[in-house]
Amino acid sequence: MKRFAALYCELDQTTRTGEKVAALEAYFRDTSPFDAAWALHFLSGRSLPRAVATKNLWAWAAEEAALPPWLIQECHAAVGDTAETIALLLRNPGSHSSVSLAEVVEQRLLPLKTLPDGSRRELLLRTWRDLDQNERFVWNKMITGNFRLGVARTLVIRALAHVAGVDPSVMAHRVMGAWKPRGEDYLRIMSGAANEEEITKPYPFFLASPLEFKVAKGESLELLGQPDEWLIEWKWDGIRAQLIRRGGETLVWSRGDEMVSDAFPELIEAGHSLPEGTVLDGEILSWEVERPGPFAKLQRRLGRKKVTQRMRTDFPIAFVAYDLLETGGADIRSRPLDDRRCSLEALIVGSNERIRTSGTANASALFETPMFSGFEANTSTENPSPLRLSPIVPATSWAEVTRFQATARSLGVEGLMLKLRSSPYAVGRQRGDWWKWKIDPYVIDAVLILAQRGSGRRANLYTFGLWDNGKLVPVAKAYSGLTDAEILDVDAFVRRHSTEKFGPVRIVKPELVFELAFEGIHKSTRHKAGVAVRFPRMSRWRHDKKPEDADTLENLRAMANHENASA
C-alpha cells in the first residue's frame, strides 16, 4: 500500500509524461502481480463502488480526529476534497504496517460494503490507524468510490509494454481484453500469447502534405502534372483510422495510436463481414442519413468505454474507407493506389452485400447525390452498414478540381485530397505523392482577454473575446500561430497589463487584437458564447486594429448559422 501511495504521489507531482511513464514502469517492475493487478484496475479507470456512506464517513472521521463536525466541515470547505480533508485531519499515522495493496482491497475494502454498521466502523478505524498519511488519502479515495489517477491510458499501456518488452499496440490489445484484478490475470497480460503482434498491429499511417500554401503562393496546379494521373477525393472532417480484421477479431486504431474499438461497436460488428486478413484505411465520421455530420457530434462518441444503443442512434457514425493496406493477409502497400482502390471497391461492395443479404432484404441501388456520388452503402434504414467507400471526385481538369475545392465548405468537408494514382502507401509524410488541399479557414478579429501560464514547456494559452452588448465574451482559446518573437511581445504585454490573477490565469487589459483562424464552428450549450470553434489559432496580430474594431459575437453566430444550415 505504501508503494502504491508513493506511486500516486509521483504521478500527482509531475506533468511530464516521460516521468509518469517512468514512475509507472518502476512501480510495475517492483510490485507483486497481486498488487499490480489492482493498480492496473484503478489505473484503467475501473473504480469500485462507494463502500461507506458519506454521512458515516464524516461522523467516524470526526470521532477519530476528536473534532466537532462543524470544524470538520470548515476544513472540508477549505480543502474541497473529502478524502484529502480526512487524511489531513487524522493524527498519529501508523507507520509500521506494511499491508499490501491487494490485502487492503481484498480484505478491507471489499468486505467493508457487506458488513453491518458497527463492524464497518471498526474496520474503517482500524485501517486508518494502520496507514500513514499518504496511504490514508489513497484509501479514502478508494472507499468514496471516486478514485482517479491523473494519468492517460496510453501512458499506462506504454509503461506496461516496456516492462513486458512488447510493442505498445500489443499491450493495448491485451489490456482491452477481459481480465479481472487477479494476479494470474496480470501475469497473463504480461506474458501474452504467441503471434498476437501479427494480429493487432496497425500499419504506420501515410500522411499527405499541405497544398494550400503552394496555392496561396500562386503556384499553379499544372505543376502537379496531368489531372488524370491523380485520384481526387474529399478531405473528411473526422478521425483517421485503420479498421483491422485479423484472427477472427476486429480492431479500430486511431491515428493517435489509440485503440478506439470500444467507442465504435458498429464498426466491430461490420468488421465481421470483412474477409480474414483485411486492413482498411479511412475516416470515422459522424453521419446523418445520407451525408457526413458535424465533428462535434463525433466527439460525443470518443473516449467512451461503453456506448449505449441510445448513443448509437443519437450520434450515428460511418467509416469511409479510402485505402486497402492488407488483403487476404498480404501486405499490399507497395502496389499502386489505383490497384489498391480497385480491390477496395470490390471488397466494400462485397462486404455490404453480405450484410444486406444476411440482414433485411430491402436492398436498394447505390446511393447517389449530385455532389456525393459513389458512397457505396446499404441504404436499408433497418440495418445500414457503417462501412462506406470514399467517393472519387469526378474532376477531369485542374479548373474543375479548383471548383470542387471551393464547394467543400458547403458540403461539410475540409477540402480535397490529391493522391497520385501510381503511389504506394508509404510511411509517414513523404512530399509529392499525396497532397491535402484544405479550404480557407474562417477568420475573426478578437481581443485578448485572458492568459494562462503554460505548464512545463507548454506554451501559454490565450483566451479571446468578441463584443456582445458592450462586453467581451470569451469565444476561443489559442496558443499557436505567432512567431516566437511575437509571443515574447505578447507575454511582455500580459505581464505588464494583467489586472488580476486566478491561479495560473491572468486577466489581461483588453487591448491587443488578433485575427483568429479556425476550421469549423458549431452551436454549443456548454460555451458561454453559445458557439464553439474548432482548431482556433492566431493567424495574425492586428496591430492596425483597436479593441473596439474587433468582431461582434453576432458575426460569429451568423457564421455558425450559415455552417449549420449547410452541414
Binding site: D12, L71, A77, A78, L88, K501
Partner: protein, 346 residues
C-alpha cells in the same frame, strides 16, 4: 479596551499610537516588515531592534524609524510599550501594551517552532491577546523544519540527476532566508532573485550569515544550468529572467502547500509545507499560554478559531482587517498578489 480597531488599523487611545496601521498616522508601532503590516507614509515608526534594518529597506531611506531592544519598556503617554520575539521573521515582534495594570498583546504574525534565525517565540501573559489566525484550521499541522529541509535538499539532488535547475519560490523576506539556512550548500551553486538578495543583505548586516551565494551573471548561469538552485519570489514565475536557467523544476515553500489544490493550481512540480506562521496546534497552545481571557482573532481563518474558543468558554471575537484576502506573503513580493493560494475568508 486598551486597543481598538479603527479604520486606520489597531489603535491604542491612551498612548495615542497605532499598531501596524494601513494608512498614514503620527506614530506607527510595527510588528514586522512585511508589507501588509508595514505601510509607508507615517510620520514616525517604532519597531524591535533586530527588525529595524528590514523595516528601513521596506519603507525606504527617508522613513523615520526608532528601535527598541526586545523586552525593554518605553513609555508613551503613560502607556508601557515593549517588543517580544514572535519567531516569524528576523526581528519580528509581538507588541505588549500596558496601561494602569491592563495588558494587551498584539501578536503580529508568529510561529512557535524556533527556526534558528527569527528569534524564539515566547508567549507573553496578558489580559487581551490579539492573535493572527492565518492557518487556524486543524488541517494545518507542520512537520519539523529539519524534515522539510531534507525534502528540499533531496529534491535539489534529484533535479541535478535529471539536469534540471531547481527553482524554489519563497517569500523574499523571511521564508527565502530561512530556506537558505537549511540548504546543503555543498550540493551546488545557489542563485538569488534580486528581491530575495536585498533582504539576504539585510540579514547579513544584522549578523545572520547565510550560505555562500553566487552572483547571477549570465555566464555563470549558463555554466551551472541543471545544477543550480534558484530562490525567487513566486511573482518571478515565467519571467524572462527565470528562462535563462534552462529546463527547470519548480517548487514553492509555503504553508498553503499543505493542500493539494493550491499546489496543483500553480502547476508546480513540488510543494514544500514550510510556514512562518503557527499551525493549528501552535495557535491553540500559544493562546492558552498567554492566560488571556479575552482573545481577538485577525488575519485568516478567524471564524473557526473564534467559535472553537467560545465553545471553550473564552471571550473571543474576530477583528476585521484591511487585508481581507491577506496571504502569508503579500509581503515580500509587493503587489503581485499571491492571492491565488489564499482560501476565502470563512
Amino acid at each position: 479596551m486598551l486597543v481598538t480597531n479603527t479604520e486606520r488599523g489597531l489603535f491604542c487611545a491612551p498612548g495615542n499610537f497605532h499598531i501596524d496601521p494601513w494608512k498614514p498616522v503620527d506614530l506607527a508601532v510595527i510588528t514586522h516588515a512585511h508589507s501588509d503590516h508595514a505601510r509607508r507614509g507615517s510620520r514616525q515608526y517604532v519597531t524591535a531592534e533586530p527588525g529595524g534594518l528590514a523595516l528601513q529597506e521596506r519603507l525606504g531611506p527617508t522613513a523615520r524609524i526608532e528601535t527598541l531592544p526586545f523586552g525593554e519598556r518605553s513609555l508613551r503617554n503613560g502607556v508601557a510599550v515593549s517588543f517580544h520575539p514572535a519567531g516569524h521573521i528576523l526581528g519580528s515582534a509581538q507588541i505588549r501594551v500596558e496601561y494602569r495594570g491592563e495588558v494587551c498583546v498584539i501578536s503580529g504574525d508568529y510561529k512557535t517552532e524556533f527556526d534558528g534565525i527569527s528569534g524564539r517565540f515566547e508567549p507573553v501573559r496578558c489580559h487581551t491577546f490579539i492573535t493572527e489566525s492565518t492557518f487556524a484550521l486543524p488541517i494545518y499541522r507542520w512537520k519539523p523544519q529539519a524534515e522539510i529541509f531534507l525534502e528540499i535538499n533531496d529534491w535539489w539532488r534529484e533535479n541535478q540527476q535529471k539536469e534540471r535547475t531547481s527553482v524554489l519560490f519563497a517569500y523574499s523576506l523571511g521564508k527565502a532566508q530561512r530556506v537558505l539556512s537549511g540548504l546543503d550548500a555543498s550540493s551546488g551553486p545557489i542563485f538569488l532573485h534580486e528581491a530575495v538578495r536585498k533582504f539576504v543583505d539585510v540579514y547579513a548586516r544584522a549578523g545572520v550569515i547565510l550560505p555562500g551565494i553566487e552572483s547571477a551573471n549570465a555566464e555563470k548561469i549558463k555554466a551551472t544550468r541543471g545544477r543550480a538552485l534558484v530562490i525567487a519570489p513566486a511573482s518571478a514565475d515565467n519571467s524572462p529572467w527565470l528562462r535563462k536557467f534552462g529546463e527547470v523544476s519548480t517548487a514553492f515553500a509555503s504553508g498553503w502547500m499543505q493542500v493539494r489544490g493550491p499546489r496543483r493550481r500553480r502547476s508546480l512540480d513540488r510543494g514544500f509545507v514550510l510556514s512562518d506562521h503557527a499551525d493549528w496546534d501552535g495557535l491553540l497552545a500559544s493562546i492558552e499560554a498567554t492566560g488571556a481571557e479575552c482573545i481577538r482573532a485577525t488575519h485568516g481563518y478567524t471564524a473557526p478559531l473564534v467559535r472553537w474558543l467560545r465553545e471553550r468558554g473564552k471571550d473571543a471575537d474576530a477583528i476585521k482587517t484591511h487585508f481581507e484576502s491577506k496571504n502569508e506573503d503579500v509581503a515580500g513580493d509587493g503587489a503581485t498578489a499571491e492571492a491565488e493560494a489564499e482560501p476565502k475568508a470563512p
